[in-house]
């Protein structure tokens, strides 16, 4: 009869020798080449090259096919009824009031959030150093108001998350003021955890074929994307489409910059926010995305909302930064690839002031 101690000794020894043997054997076998995940050799598409490509024609809002195919995915954003605008804009001195007004103009939060929904709000909390007044992170009041609206609409749970590129999430949540505001409103801050990233295929991706994406973002009933409007030295602007870079792991995020416009557009073929709310209460007009100089911040007291991520970005680019939407690479690609529309002329836009 083996004693427990002997059993453990033997078990340990056998496991060790099996492991050693296995490693030795596998070391002798030819190595598999890993699948190329990041094609770095391709040049960024030039405008002439991409113009010849027709849009994929996939209807906007088609459920994104992912590795986690058995689970339910973020609900398809509801298109507006004839009485609802495609995009709404609200101006006014109170961040909370204009957030409410923008959502109400779109038809109310009930259009997006149903009773019992699991909601994720994804603001921009990109770093742990900059205070909210510098507008590098989303306005806490805007985020908190959305939390309140969702809970009032009967959401089962409202989580708020982003992954900062500088500093830890714990600190960044605090510095940005978002943690306190969200918790006061009854929402939960979630630290994005390594266990929840799933390798996801990008069937409509032109550059990205697969990348790891935060599973909960794909699976939440409702995803509300709340970027802050800023300039960006490479992508020119960072708004709703680019803000979604927060849902891929930090570890390989810098590789995204290699052909940033195409990769942002590709990411937007997989992650579909139900609602996009662009916080333009304060706007960084120079030196973004991490700006320290208050002189670079313009108070615009505006919130833009739409179910269409491309439209929200296009409108923000046009009105806040006086740039044609087509000038911004990822907005143009977003339109071409059928993710959304950037043609502001033929769009029902409703502007309110409160």
């Amino acid at each position: 009869m083996l004693s427990r101690r002997d059993f453990l000794h033997r078990f340990f020894l056998y496991t060790l020798s099996l492991y050693a043997g296995g490693s030795a054997l596998s070391a002798c076998s030819p190595r598999e080449t890993p699948p190329p995940i990041i094609p770095t050799s391709t040049m960024p598409p030039s405008p002439t090259a991409t113009n010849t490509l027709s849009p994929t024609g996939v209807p906007y809002g088609a459920p994104p096919p992912t590795a986690a195919a058995t689970t339910t995915l973020t609900r398809v954003p509801p298109s507006p009824t004839p009485f609802q605008p495609y995009l709404s804009v609200a101006h006014g001195p109170s961040p909370s009031a204009i957030t409410r007004a923008a959502i109400d103009t779109l038809g109310g939060i009930g259009r997006f959030v149903k009773k019992g929904d699991d909601v994720i709000i994804k603001p921009n909390i990109c770093n742990a150093s900059l205070k909210p007044e510098l507008a590098s992170t989303t306005n806490p009041e805007v985020v908190a108001t959305l939390v309140t609206l969702c809970l009032d609409a009967g959401a089962k749970r409202v989580r708020v998350m982003d992954q900062p590129f500088s500093g830890t999430a714990v600190e960044a949540y605090k510095t940005s003021g978002i943690r306190d505001a969200v918790e006061r409103a009854g929402g939960q801050m979630e630290i994005m955890s390594d266990m929840k990233y799933v390798t996801t295929s990008f069937p409509q991706g032109r550059d990205i074929k697969s990348w790891k994406v935060y599973e909960d973002i794909l699976k939440a009933d409702v995803l509300i994307n709340v970027p802050v409007a800023k300039t960006h030295d490479l992508a020119k602007l960072t708004l709703a489409m680019k803000g979604l870079m927060g849902v891929i792991p930090n570890a390989n995020r810098s590789a995204f910059h290699n052909s940033i416009d195409q990769r942002i557009a590709d990411l937007n073929t997989v992650v579909h926010p139900t609602l996009n709310v662009v916080d333009a209460v304060r706007v960084v007009v120079r030196n973004g995305p991490t700006n320290w100089n208050p002189a670079n911040v313009v108070v615009a007291n505006t919130v833009i909302a739409s179910h269409d991520v491309v439209a929200a970005d296009a409108y923000a680019a046009k009105t806040l930064f006086q740039r044609q939407p087509q000038e911004i690479g990822y907005i143009r690609l977003g339109g071409e690839m059928g993710i959304g529309k950037y043609d502001l002329q033929n769009m029902v836009i409703k502007e309110v002031s409160v």
Partner: protein, 513 residues
């Protein structure tokens, strides 16, 4: 309380102390709040206190609490070793439970004293390298650089494995949100020499199979401090008249401190750790501990003048060799120290405890191997490819028990130059590959951005005219935080690297004007 109860109390104390040590060690994160100081065990370590005070010629007030432990030693002998030392606790738990072999090499017991004297002699010369052998620093370094990161891998691995099972998701999320940033690092950390720290620790444990508590008997310099005190301490074991010299106590004594004498038993006070195993093992209950002197003691190892001379020679020779190494002449190119440390006579203040390594939220601070020469073994060095110095963090200076890393306010820390970044234009993407990339500029946390972008129109090798933004470091702005190097998307070494800061001498014109 009878003998068994006392022995049980000792075991409880050991486990509680071990638990407290691990808890304090695990709680050492940026915003941890704790009732007891997180560096409690360093504040109770007279060896760390004495040598750091001697070497730095500065009265480090927070270390003076170790006088309590020192005083305890004069009364109760090596009770620290037997009851409180977390490393001693681990050794007692894992040691083989075979009958203890008869000790053959009594003279080896002198090694710990020689180590202690050498350490103090080197401290007189401003060197603290031997503090890597202090049991608290040894355990703490192992914990910070090997155990925690490995534990994190295990936890994340288990979580990832179990997460696909729906019923487990809620509890897993609850656990993850609870331990992340409190018991486990806020983001995974990677230590280049974790294996070496673990191997050193494993060796200390393995020596227990040569003799029980090998480390405590022969090597531990902190044990040597208490052993010297024990020679005059008050608490002593004694055999009563019932002792029939059966030698049961000799066989159980973990440090081999007991011998049978004509009258009963003779104990070497310098080796007795007051574990009370002998009291519990005695079939006649003939052993008592009390404050009266027994008339017979086992021959204790005595330091001779020769040992003092030897230690002094070792100490001087070691320091002389350290200071004649290349590291003393010129810094390693990448020896980036924590903020403020470089200007602070760092090597004579750093006790190699690993607290800064553990507290660094990005995992950028790493225990060094030979970057600072052998003299700087296990001192912290920033390795930006593994983690950067966060612009919003001054945690290392706050936790450092000896203020080797100065306790800087955040605003001051942000102006401390710890290094300077240089771009390798042969590898940098916009320079060498004619493709866009501005990650280093985007990441630069400085208000005025030390990385600037030059807009250029150039002809690429394939003949296309391309517009590029090429990064350039403005060296008078760079503080060397290393986030550019950390985030550089290149595979392998970054195309922007942080080097040791340059000491700019005054320009000729400046000096005269």
């Amino acid at each position: 309380m009878n003998a068994r109860h006392w022995r049980r109390a000792r075991q409880v104390a050991q486990i509680a102390s071990l638990f407290l040590f691990f808890l304090l060690a695990a709680l050492t994160y940026r915003e941890s709040q704790s009732l007891v100081p997180l560096d409690l065990y360093f504040r109770l370590d007279p060896l760390v206190a004495a040598s750091a005070i001697i070497a730095s010629r500065a009265l480090i007030t927070i270390l003076l609490t170790s006088a309590v432990a020192l005083a305890l030693g004069f009364v109760l002998g090596r009770v620290w070793c037997g009851w409180l030392c977390p490393l001693g606790g681990i050794l007692d738990i894992v040691s083989p439970h075979a009958p203890h072999p008869i000790e053959r090499h009594t003279r080896w017991r002198g090694v710990k004293y020689v180590l202690l004297l050498t350490l103090l002699c080197a401290a007189l010369l401003g060197n603290l390298s031997l503090l890597i052998l202090d049991p608290i620093t040894l355990l703490n370094r192992t914990f910070a650089g090997a155990f925690i990161p490995a534990l994190n891998v295990v936890v994340v691995g288990l979580e990832t494995l179990l997460y696909p099972f729906a019923p487990l998701q809620a509890p897993l999320e609850w656990i993850e949100q609870g331990v992340r940033g409190t018991l486990l690092p806020a983001q995974p950390t990677f230590y280049q020499l974790g294996w070496l720290l673990a191997a050193t620790f494993a060796a200390v444990i393995a020596l227990d199979w040569v003799a029980p508590r090998f480390w405590c008997r022969y090597l531990c310099p902190l044990g040597a401090v208490y052993a010297l005190e024990s020679k005059v301490s008050l608490l002593r074991p004694r055999a009563t008249a019932e002792c029939d010299r059966c030698a049961a106590c000799v066989r159980v004594c973990p440090t081999g401190a007991i011998a049978i004498s004509k009258t009963g038993l003779a104990v070497d006070p310098a080796e007795c750790v007051v574990c009370l195993d002998c009291v519990a093992a005695c079939p006649k209950s003939a052993i008592t501990f009390g404050f009266s002197r027994s008339n017979e003691t086992k021959a204790s190892f005595n330091l001779s003048r020769r040992h003092f001379v030897e230690s002094a020679v070792f100490g001087v020779a070691a320091v002389a060799l350290f200071r004649s190494a290349p590291a003393a002449r010129r810094d390693d190119s990448f020896l980036v120290r924590p903020p403020g440390a470089r200007e602070n006579d760092f090597l004579s203040k750093c006790v190699r405890c690993g607290e800064c390594v553990k507290v660094c939220p990005t995992g950028g601070l790493q225990p060094s191997l030979f970057e600072a020469g052998l003299e700087g073994l296990w001192t912290p060095v920033l390795v930006p490819r593994l983690g950067y110095c966060d612009y919003s963090c001054n945690a290392c200076g706050q936790i450092c028990p000896t203020e080797a890393i100065p306790r800087l306010a955040l605003a001051d820390k942000r102006t401390k130059i710890i290094g300077v970044a240089y771009i390798d234009q042969n590898r940098c993407i916009p320079w060498a590959s004619y493709r866009p990339c501005i990650v280093c500029q985007e990441m630069c946390p400085l208000p005025d951005k030390a990385v600037k972008l030059d807009e250029v129109d150039v002809i690429a090798p394939d003949g296309r005219q391309v517009h590029l933004q090429r990064p350039r470091v403005q060296h008078d702005l760079c503080i060397g935080c290393g986030i550019c190097e950390y985030q550089c998307p290149l595979v392998g070494p970054a195309a922007i690297r942080v080097y040791v800061p340059m000491q700019f001498p005054p320009l000729l014109g400046e000096a005269s004007s």
